[in-house]
Symmetry: C2
C-alpha cells in the first residue's frame, strides 16, 4: 500500500505534475525547472526528491548540473502506469502548454550564471 500512496501523493501537487509534464519534453536540470516553474530553487529540489522517492523520476549528475528525467517505470508499476497515462493527459491545459512552449527559451548556460 505504501508505494502506491507514495506515487499518488507525489502526483497530487500541481508543481510536481508540471515537472513531470516538462520532463516529458526533455531532461532538465534544476535551474531550468526553477525558471520554468518560477518557484525557488530549494522548492524545486524538494519536489524532485519526492518524485524520485516515488519512482517517477531519476537523475544523472553531469558535472555541476544534475539532469532529471522520467524513469522507465521499472521501479514501480504504479509510476509506470501513471507516467504512461500522463503522456495523454493534460495536454490541452493552457497553463501547461504555455509553460512547455517556453522551454526552448530556457538556456541552461545563461540561466544559471545570474
Amino acid at each position: 500500500m505504501k508505494p502506491f500512496i507514495q506515487v499518488m501523493k507525489a502526483l497530487s501537487d500541481p508543481n510536481r505534475v508540471k515537472i513531470i509534464k516538462l520532463l516529458e519534453q526533455k531532461s532538465m536540470c534544476v535551474c531550468e525547472l526553477r525558471a520554468a516553474l518560477n518557484i525557488s530553487q530549494p522548492s524545486v529540489s524538494k519536489h524532485l526528491k519526492i518524485l524520485e522517492a516515488s519512482g517517477l523520476v531519476d537523475f544523472q549528475k553531469n558535472g555541476l548540473w544534475v539532469d532529471y528525467f522520467l524513469t522507465d517505470g521499472r521501479q514501480s508499476p504504479y509510476a509506470a502506469t501513471l507516467l504512461g497515462s500522463l503522456k495523454h493527459w493534460l495536454n490541452e491545459d493552457p497553463e501547461l502548454t504555455g509553460m512547455i512552449t517556453e522551454i526552448p527559451v530556457l538556456d541552461r548556460e545563461t540561466l544559471c550564471k545570474r
Copy 2:
C-alpha cells in the same frame, strides 16, 4: 489540471483507498464502511465526500441508509482510468485482503442498531 489533482489527492489517503477496494466488492453504506475501516462515522462521511467530489464514487439514498458505489467513470476520465487500474492493484496487500474477507461478517442490520 484541477480535476486531475483532485483525483490524485483523493487517492493519496490510505483510508480512501481502502474504501475504493471495499466498494469493488459491493456497494456499502456508511456504517458498514465504518465497521470495516474501524474509524469514526464522521471521518467516513468526510472521506466519502472527497471521493464523490473527485468522481470516484456515487451514492443512492435507500431509506435511512445511503449506499455508496464506484462510478462508471463517466464524470472523469482520470477517475475512470484509476478505478480500472486499481482493480488489478493492491490485491496482494495483506491488510486489504484481510479487510475484504471480513465483508461478509458485516451485517448492516446488526451493525447499525448498536
